[in-house]
Symmetry: C2
Subunit: 398 residues, 2 copies
């Protein structure tokens, strides 16, 4: 028992992903970084907007007393007010600063709310495809993540949820725009979903919370809007970060917002503040709180990602790939020509294209392209996608 | 079941502390902030050193690609190298960058290492007095914190530990310089302690890790040195932050270092990196990593705290208080004239002095003064300490 048995098993199962990264690094060493199209990770390539740079420089000059010191565990009141105002404008809600808790990224927000509400053995349901970290986040706090199949076009399958929710269900997580599919759940679906959650809450005698993980809310295309959840379902909370819309994933800054209409709103807020403290986060990083507080509504130029999306869709179209055209995020979820998507991901790798198998997101038979990367790699990938498809087709016809 | 039952009970038990804060706030509202000597919290009053300000401004100008993006979960390699070099100089150890993992403060480091090593029901032993958050940190990961009495002069009582360690014991935590006593555990004690840990590890058949929580290592007085733990006990790790020595508690930046001599060193490192990720920290804040990486060996002017300590000791001496003279930290642990220290803390509050009862640190009969506050409050407290003592003595003699 050198380390925790559970962590030991996690390490063993995550060795596949490590292996993938190592092989990617090896490929780059052999062929040169510029020749390997690494579409495997979601590390935004677009620089933060100029407003961020200006305000960061200003804030770093601030030498007021205690400016890098502790503030309340929930964060600076004025920052929380600015965010509450912004959410209210966006969602026509009526949040006050107390409803917003500054967190160490969306990962921090999710852990804080899950610890706040979960009892041992509680289930948390999520629609596939889903961000793989949710499983760990639930497990951290004694919960069990259960996956629910989606519809053919990656929407929430409300009927499947209705069948899957038992009295063990404490919460559902939605992630829209969705990583990895790029799907935005439409308002109509969400309203039907809320109806089922209300019905099931009443049947099971326990409140089913809706946790909306929204880091990609501002990375959307073609004028599609992401419906606000607060007006649709009262027992809800939003987790998000500035990792994608301000391109700051390394700075770990985000927030958790509790719906003021939730029946036990104040109790949830107090629980979340306590959990933010006792999970060792203590508070979200001070300087970045002050910076993002002044950047409400500012975002990176989404057209850059749109251009990349369209270029990639063009390449995929030309070579006969089937895929879901993303409405948001910087991911493309592509149907693997080979039913065994790991084999096809391997074939792509031989053609110097790194992607992630859909199994990692609960949907085998697909692979994910992360296109938050330099245009040159997208251009370069055309040949690899073509060759991989040809090689696969010729393998079939032999 | 609006929230987690456990968190609900935590909220109830922490309501006393909240009540204390609320009453303090009320006192300030009535008498004016400048008239209430708030010695209850440990939020450093000394500004960060000028070197910090200079480097923060420089680093905030950096607009390199991906400069606010993800880096490896363990942190920037060059920052980890700088820290490893510094530790090696300080402790004559032989760490490489891989032995250092950047964390979201010491709270993050403690949670990461506890999650890495604990199995459900495992015990973690700590000497009183102790930092109350340890209890939550252990509980977060299925562990149980057990307290062990200290010697009369707040040293580790090694014999008591020998009696208390069972085969459930996975780790011991030490905190030196100690919050709240200001004690620095001497090398002689630590060597004897290490001997017992080795003996007990061999008896119980499981490795007992020594987790050294050292955020106050550089806040020391009178030339006393804090012995390095890595040369004394191989199965050890250090958790720390720059919260106190650079006065940056709100920025949440620290590190975890694993002793290269630990038998399963690499396994522990991999576990810790995974836990840093899956606990939702993901990585320590990027900008602050780069800043502290360039500030190795830099610290605030400790003489400022020494002056405050000496002024307070003078006041306590004059008024017949018994206390342990702190060798480090910015806390003073004072024997309560009244056996019921809560009653005396209340008496002090009536005299506009806010302190924390020793029961909060596992040592009833004492109270803690946090003197990282403006000199004016220390001067002003003389009268309150005098009056409280007089009132208590006259109460006895009646």
């Amino acid at each position: 028992m050198a380390i925790s048995s559970k962590i030991e098993s996690f390490l063993q199962s995550s060795s596949l992903i490590r292996k993938m990264f190592e092989e990617g690094a090896k490929l780059k060493a052999i062929h040169g970084v510029q020749n390997v199209c690494d579409f495997s990770i979601g590390n935004p390539d677009v620089p933060p907007p100029p407003e961020f740079q200006k305000i960061l420089e200003e804030e770093s000059l601030n030498t007021d007393a205690n400016i890098h010191g502790y503030m309340p565990n929930a964060g600076y009141l004025n920052v929380r007010s600015a965010i509450a105002d912004y959410i209210n404008k966006e969602q026509k809600s009526n949040l006050e600063n107390k409803h917003v808790i500054m967190t160490t990224g969306a990962g921090g927000a999710l852990n804080v709310i899950l610890k706040s509400i979960l009892n041992p053995g509680d289930e948390v349901l999520v629609s596939v495809p889903y961000f793989v970290e949710y499983k760990f986040y639930c497990d951290n706090h004694g919960g069990i993540l259960k996956t629910v199949p989606c519809t053919d076009d990656f929407d929430i399958d409300v009927d499947q949820f209705e069948k899957s929710i038992t009295d063990k269900c404490a919460a559902v997580i939605i992630n829209s725009p969705n990583n990895p599919s790029g799907k935005i759940y439409p308002e109509k679906t969400l309203k039907k979903f809320a109806e089922v959650l209300r019905k099931k809450s009443s049947e099971t005698g326990r409140t089913i919370y809706l946790i909306s993980d929204e880091p990609y809310r501002k990375i959307v295309y073609d004028g599609v809007e992401v419906p606000g959840i607060f007006g649709i379902y009262s027992e809800s909370m939003i987790c998000t970060s500035y990792s994608k819309d301000l391109s700051l994933p390394g700075e770990r800054i985000g927030w958790l917002a509790i719906n003021p209409s939730a029946e036990n709103c104040d109790k949830i807020i107090n629980a979340a503040i306590l959990c933010n403290r006792i999970l060792g986060y203590v508070n979200a990083p001070a300087l970045m709180q002050r910076v993002v507080g002044r950047l409400q509504g500012v975002k990176i130029d989404v057209n850059v990602y749109k251009r990349k999306r369209d270029a990639l869709c063009g390449i995929l179209d030309e070579n006969g790939y089937d895929y879901f055209k993303p409405e948001g995020t910087f991911y493309l979820f592509v149907k693997s020509p080979d039913k065994n998507e790991s084999a096809f991901v391997e074939l792509l790798k031989q053609n110097l294209i790194l992607t992630v198998p859909g199994s990692a997101f609960g949907v085998p038979g697909y692979f994910r392209i992360s296109y938050c990367t330099d245009d040159s790699y997208i251009d370069k990938s055309a040949e690899g996608f073509k060759n991989a498809m040809n090689e696969f087709m010729s393998g079939i016809s032999q």
